[in-house]
Symmetry: none
Subunit: 223 residues, 4 copies
DNA sequence: CATGAATGAGTTTTCATTCAT
DNA sequence: AATGAATGAAAACTCATTCAT
């Protein structure tokens, strides 16, 4: 948790410092990220940073929380387009898929930072407030249970397991999109957002949804 | 690439050194893994290691290649039980699923090292020979294409996209299994292999396969 | 020397601040004592402390002076029980011995602070007003001279030298008492004051006094 | 304990490094002594020092042990002049007194370092091999017991207590000598050894011994 | 081919002190 | 008179890499 000193900072300074910190911790993992490099770039004294945060991990934890909030905000904005109550389960899933991808693409550093959080050293991980992965699973799970309750979805699925599968599919979407756009997900790290285009994305979502809703059909099957 | 000096080493010494190196790089990520600790444990001079490998990254790259070979070998052994030609696509997928999980359990250090490789610093990642993720996708892709060619699978799927989805599902299997066994995949890092049991795994595979083959059916649907 | 601002402080605030400062400098030596920790505990701004004192050393010097005054006061109160004029030299010595020990026990932080003063860095030590060791020597010396003048003590002792010896003996009393009570003076730092007991202390004083008055007698000597 | 690396060092380099380290830790207490300053002066890389010693405390502990050995050696050389068996207790005491003073004067840095050791932070003190103070007390104690056994000394002294008193007197001798030579023991730290002179020291020892053997006589007493 | 000491830039963190408000 | 953010030098310690033997 940042010290009060940090809150008293001029908003402008605070924001620019955090932007640089986000960059630093998005570009390097926790061990490799350098406080020294950060303060150099920020043009502040090394001691100043330690007036704001207890230590490197404190800063990291704060950044991760911020990033999660940012992404969640973007997700809610984007995902909330459809009618959340009226729409069926699959529609909502589609909305989420689209929103997730777009949020990650709109905030690539935040998305990357959250990935880093999952592989931070254990003692740091323990200081992370709660883990967003579990949050995402839980969210997915509740959607499923709801759909089962409303009769929209067959009741014989294990919601926990399916939630994991859907979460895995959604987190696998990034590479799919990148591959479609001609990037190598293992080499490249970001897709320039101007390359992003609903015309490209929508068919992907359609096909993924078809997979989710019907699975892999034999050639003989009718759709 | 190891230097010639490394090949000239007595096989025994080479093997034990690599075993310790694997342990070091499986336990810590690239930045945190320590050459000093390694040579201490191995009881060799620090200079000697640099007679075998150009630098830390060189050793890492070599280890990753070895680990991939090891896992691939295990996978082929385990996955090849059924009749690879006679069996249908879904059977083979099931075989792979099981084989992947079991291979990872039989070679936990190798599995973990490969995970680490995916998050190594970019300059290191660029030196990795080829990426196993792409290999896995390609493998999955060729299975799909084959199934489409044989008429077993509808032709209107994009094999690339579905390959990604299936790969995502398979790599999401680990957490599912952990969750089923009562571990928190975000906190815990390993499932003790004695806790692993076909009686637990098989139903998971069944349900995943059902999801893959039929997708999420509405409550009214007949199976 | 404190700045005028310090004197203008409400007595209550001044006192509580000094109490915390005493604690800080008694618990840690000069180098290790932390101004930051002090102001945190005192709940005042760091800048405020520097409105009261020039620097860390200034505060330290002031505290030491205060502590010496406190101990001297206690010593005079406790040591003054007997008739200071009527009693003989040895009686007064005994009174001092007892008073010194008890004063130190009644004011452990002050006693410890004065010990610390003796090992402060030279540039700090030079700023200490006057050294209590010299005060003690002088006091002892004047007692001796007086006793020689009154004919109570042989005149052929060098009062300076004997004063040093007696001072050394008295400052060596602490470890003696600790050892008697089963503590290791090198490991332990304090004797819980409830363990202190005249029944234990008095025989020690007696024997020390016998040593002082008669020295080490051969076995054949009559007492 | 120094690492093997240290032992393998050229004796010359080792010695000069230790001389500088001794100087650093004699001039400053443990907290204030600076590893950086030391390596700068020694002209070696910081990393090198850490190839020799685990950490700052490790170096300190080693230095203290060395200093104790040095002083003990000097003491045995100097103190062994008289006939250790033939001489009486007081003669031996006198020999020790003289030897202790001269040893401390011949090795002022070592003597000072050992003083520092007694006030090192607890976690460092616990790593010091054994404490020389207790050794000195024990030595004194055994001399006393021996003298009592041989009938040279009255048996009704508590050897433990008297050992402490004598130890206190001996450790108080330094300031006495300094005062006699016109130095202020609290301000000055060293007596230039050329100022040391048996002609000055011997009468001091005589008077101290007279005090020890007879105590403070009343004016009427015959010696 | 093996050695292992030397390197020195790098790391995080602490601290007393200043000064503009 | 009080504040408390800014400072930056200094601290201890680590590490991959080199190179003379």
């Amino acid at each position: 948790m940042p010290k009060p000193t940090f809150d008293n900072l001029p908003a402008e300074k605070r924001a620019s410092l955090m932007a640089l910190a986000l960059q630093e911790f998005a570009e390097h993992d926790f061990a490799t990220a350098s406080v020294s490099r950060l303060v150099d770039r920020a043009g502040i004294a090394k001691g100043s940073l330690y007036q704001y945060f207890d230590d490197k991990a404190d800063l990291f934890v704060y950044l991760v929380a911020q990033a999660e909030a940012t992404l969640l905000g973007a997700l809610q904005t984007l995902g909330g387009r459809g009618d959340p109550l009226g729409d069926g389960f699959l529609q909502r899933l589609r909305g989420q898929m689209s929103a997730t991808i777009q949020a990650a693409l709109a905030h690539p550093r935040e998305a990357r930072l959250i990935q880093r959080a999952r592989q931070a050293p254990p003692e740091v991980r323990q200081r992370l407030d709660r883990h967003d992965a579990r949050l995402r699973i839980d969210h997915m799970r509740s959607l499923l249970v709801e759909a089962q309750a409303s009769g929209e979805l067959a009741g014989d699925y294990d919601p926990e397991l399916v939630a994991h599968l859907l979460a895995a599919i959604m987190s696998g979407l990034g590479p799919v999109v990148m591959a479609r756009l001609g990037f190598d997900p293992e080499r490249d790290s970001d897709v320039p957002s101007e390359r992003l285009d609903p015309v490209i994305l929508e068919p992907i979502f359609d096909e993924v949804l078809r997979f989710i809703s019907h699975g892999l059909r034999p050639a003989s099957a009718l759709v």
